[in-house]
Structures are given as structure tokens and as C-alpha cells.
């Protein structure tokens, strides 16, 4: 019984710490997006709140906290309130399976860095959670009882389910190579520069494009295309509920970057042997080094997401559907067959 309490306390501490990491990550993404877009468009960007404007995202959230919450009279009130909770809840829940570093050994006990990085169905958990994420946006669009919102919700549902297929099929290549659903196993298999991106270049490209579509980022941001749909699915949201969609969008961007890093770019694996640093397996120093490597890779991909958004124009809806069903789906099936054949030939 005493043992159980300790496990619960450990899990709770981890949960609170990682919740803060997620929120900090989302705030960092917002700041980076505003600053990088400003540089790309030859503006200055936020520079008033704190040094170089780094506190701007926090000021924005506090502002949203004090804003009135307007629920339109015609809307379905229950689902209108439920939708942002689903969106942010799912965006947070996905972090449960992300390993931030390998493990720290204290007093003979291994403490893995992450909530449950050894969960044996980690990849399935991610796919399941991204599928639930569709509900948040679709319910928001439907319950608002607004034409723009409904169009945004429908578009987003069709877009996300179309690209989820290619995403799932490109993940099969990874599972074929590693033989496991656990994210920690996948990362361990990529030691010594055996990164999956070299073994799965086609799968990586498909996953990257699908990740953009799944997070509703430009050039796939049709659910909230401003010139045609005002704000898309979140047209009728204000105050903290809007803030939740906003946070969820940026948390999802950070999550996608983390998955690209974990699945294709070696996750927390150091680029050289840990012996070079003179750190033993399981020491705190090594865990910190691994976390830093992971963090740098994730920030790189967040910047890549932002760079793409401010460089490439939006797709048209028929182009989006054609790309998803006629290009990415056959290509990802081909990728599965080729990977399986290659594994059998070179076994």
C-alpha cells in the first residue's frame, strides 16, 4: 500500500511538471511564430512586454482570462463548452507517451523521463488521440450554429480523416523496422546515427505533410481560412474558450515536432557516443544532455513549421483532397510494401 502511494505521488509530480512544460512549449511556439513572422515580413514584432517581448504570450493569456465569454443564443450550449475542453485535453494527453530523455538511476531504481514512455502501445495511443482531436473541432463547428463555423468544422473533419490514413500507413514503415509500438524502443533502435529518416525517406515526407494537415497549419489551414470563413470553427468563441483552441493549436505543433524528432531523427539519442562526455548510463548529467539534444531538435522543427506557414500559400480544397487521396495514400501503401520487401531481402 505504501508502495502504491509513492508511485501515485511520483506520477502526480511528473504530471504537474510536464503540464508546465507543455504550456511553456506552447508559449514559446507563440512567441517564436510572432517573432519569426515579423522577421520574414520585415517588421519588429512584439517588443514591449519584457525583454525582447518574451512575456507577450503570457500577457495574451492573462488578457483572455479577463475577457467576457459570449455564447450565442442559437448555439448548443453544452457542446459549445465541451469542444474547447476536448481540444486542449487531447492536445495535453498525447504528451503522456513522449520520452524526454532515457532514464535516471537513483538508488537502484530506474526513473524514466516522461509520464509513461514505455507504454507498449505508445504509437496507437497517439493515433487514437489525434482521432479524438477531430471531435473537438467538428463539435465546435457544429454547436456554434453559424455557417462559417459549420463549414470550417466539416472541412476540418474531412481533411483530418483523409490525412490520418497516410499518417498511419507511414507509421507502419517505422513499426516494421523497430518491431515495437513503444516510443522508447523506437528511439533506442536509432542509436549511432541509424536514424529512421535515412531508412524511410519516403515515409518521412508523407508523415511530414500529414503532420501539417493534422495540425491544421498552413498550407493546410482551410478550416480557418480567414478570407472565406472569417475564423472557421472558432468564429463564435471568445475569452478563455478561444484561448484554449489557440493553446491547443500551438501545443499540437510542438507535439508534431516532438513526434517527427522521436520517430525519424533519433529522439533523445546524442549525436556521438555518451562515453565521450564521460557520463555513465543512468546518470543525471547524461539525462540532461539527452534532454537538451531532444529540445534542440524539437525547436528546430517548430521553426520549420513556422517558416513553411509564412512562405507557402494556402491550398485550394480540391487540391487538398487530390493530394491526400490520389498522391499520399497510394504512395504510403507503396512505402509499406517496399519496406516489408526490403526487410525480408536484407534480413
Amino acid at each position: 500500500m505504501n508502495n502504491l502511494i509513492w508511485i501515485l505521488i511520483e506520477a502526480l509530480i511528473k504530471a504537474v511538471v510536464i503540464l508546465n512544460v507543455i504550456l511553456l512549449g506552447a508559449a514559446t511556439s507563440v512567441y517564436l511564430e510572432r517573432k519569426i513572422s515579423a522577421v520574414i515580413q520585415d517588421r519588429i514584432g512584439p517588443n514591449r512586454v519584457g525583454p525582447f517581448g518574451v512575456l507577450q504570450p503570457f500577457a495574451d493569456v492573462f488578457k483572455l482570462f479577463f475577457k467576457e465569454d459570449i455564447v450565442p443564443k442559437a448555439s448548443d450550449k453544452f457542446f459549445h463548452s465541451l469542444a474547447p475542453i476536448i481540444s486542449l485535453g487531447v492536445a495535453v494527453a498525447v504528451y503522456a507517451v513522449i520520452p524526454f530523455a532515457h532514464y535516471v538511476e537513483i538508488g537502484g531504481t530506474k526513473y524514466y523521463i516522461g509520464i509513461a514512455p514505455n507504454l507498449n502501445i505508445g504509437l496507437l495511443f497517439i493515433l487514437a488521440m489525434t482521432s479524438v482531436g477531430v471531435y473537438g473541432i467538428t463539435l465546435a463547428g457544429w454547436s456554434s450554429n453559424n455557417k462559417y463555423s459549420l463549414m470550417g468544422g466539416l472541412r476540418s473533419a474531412a481533411q483530418m480523416i483523409s490525412y490520418e490514413l497516410s499518417m498511419g500507413l507511414s507509421l507502419i514503415g517505422i513499426i516494421l523496422i523497430s518491431g515495437s509500438f513503444s516510443l522508447n524502443d523506437i528511439v533506442i533502435g536509432q542509436a549511432n546515427w541509424k536514424w529512421n529518416v535515412f531508412l524511410q525517406p519516403l515515409g518521412f515526407l508523407i508523415f511530414l505533410v500529414s503532420a501539417f494537415a493534422e495540425t491544421n497549419r498552413a498550407p493546410f489551414d482551410l478550416p480557418e481560412a480567414e478570407p472565406e470563413l472569417v475564423g472557421g470553427y472558432n468564429t463564435e468563441y471568445s475569452g478563455m474558450k478561444f484561448g484554449m483552441f489557440f493553446l491547443a493549436e500551438y501545443a499540437n505543433m510542438a507535439t508534431s515536432s516532438a513526434f517527427i524528432t522521436l520517430l525519424y531523427f533519433g529522439g533523445w539519442q546524442l549525436p556521438f557516443s555518451p562515453d565521450l562526455l564521460g557520463l555513465a548510463e543512468g546518470s543525471i548529467g547524461l539525462a540532461v544532455a539527452q534532454f537538451l539534444v531532444f529540445f534542440i531538435k524539437v525547436v528546430f522543427f517548430i521553426m520549420f513549421f513556422i517558416w513553411v506557414r509564412w512562405s507557402i500559400p494556402r491550398f485550394r480544397y480540391d487540391q487538398l483532397m487530390r493530394l491526400g487521396w490520389k498522391v499520399l495514400l497510394p504512395l504510403s501503401l507503396l512505402n509499406v510494401v517496399l519496406t516489408a520487401a526490403a526487410i525480408l531481402i536484407f534480413k
Binding site: L8, K67, T235, G239, K347
Partner: protein, 143 residues
């Protein structure tokens, strides 16, 4: 003993609690001054016309159907991928047949044009035989 799933559930509950508490805290301090103008549905500043809860484009439904078929295929592929290394060419052939059958379905959808998002070109009915032009009428009267 708490399994990893228990810990994930715990994290999920903490996450939902966090979202709920921040909504509740915001509800305590924000103003609440509704008026009919504010509570009306937004439609670019005009009076909203009709309800949006009406029929929508059936192509969304067809996409959902096609998605369902391929998602089920994915569910079958995942366990196969995990144990694939131990099974060899036999399982490869079995799965190849399964994938080809589903590809036939995709090819059928493609050929039928269900994956086209453009509006099909309108077919204008030709009613030459049925419609009498003025000249036809004149000819009739001559006869």
C-alpha cells in the same frame, strides 16, 4: 500495482482538471453583460438568414465512408507489422493480397469519380426533338 495505463489515465485526469479549473477561474473574474446584439449569431454584421443546420454536401459523407474502409485496413496492418520479422515471405504474400483487394476498392472509387472534389460539369439536356422552333411551326402550317 499501477500499470502504465493507470499512470496515463492519471495524467489524463490531471489534464482535464487543469482545463476545468482554468475555465472556472476565468468564469469567476470575467465580466458578464449579455445583450441581444452580442448573443446573436455572427454573419458578417448582417441579420443571420436561416439556420446552418441543414443538408450539406454529400461528398463529405463519401469521404467518411472511404476513410472507414482504409482505417479498418490499418487496424489489421498494425499487429502484422509488429510480428512481421518472424513470419517471412508467407505473411508478406498474405498481406499483399489483402492490400491489393483494398487497392481495387480505391481504384473503383477513383474511376467512379468519388475522389473528385470539383463540381461535375453540368450535363445540359438536349431536347431538339421536343421543342418546336418558330421555323418548325411555319413548316407545319405550310403542310
Amino acid at each position: 500495482m499501477v500499470t502504465e495505463f493507470g499512470i496515463v489515465l492519471l495524467f489524463f485526469i490531471v489534464g482535464i482538471l487543469f482545463v476545468g479549473v482554468s475555465l472556472f477561474a476565468s468564469a469567476l473574474i470575467r465580466p458578464h453583460k449579455p445583450n441581444p446584439e452580442k448573443l446573436s449569431t455572427y454573419e458578417s454584421g448582417e441579420e443571420p438568414i436561416g439556420s446552418p443546420w441543414v443538408q450539406f454536401n454529400a461528398r463529405f459523407y463519401i469521404i467518411a465512408l472511404a476513410f472507414l474502409i482504409f482505417e479498418v485496413e490499418l487496424v489489421f496492418l498494425f499487429p502484422w507489422a509488429v510480428v512481421f520479422r518472424d513470419l517471412g515471405w508467407y505473411s508478406f504474400a498474405a498481406m499483399a493480397i489483402f492490400v491489393v483487394i483494398l487497392l481495387l476498392g480505391l481504384a473503383y472509387d477513383w474511376a467512379k469519380g468519388y475522389l473528385e472534389w470539383d463540381k461535375p460539369k453540368p450535363i445540359i439536356p438536349v431536347l431538339k426533338e421536343l421543342i418546336m422552333t418558330r421555323e418548325d411551326l411555319k413548316n407545319q402550317q405550310k403542310d
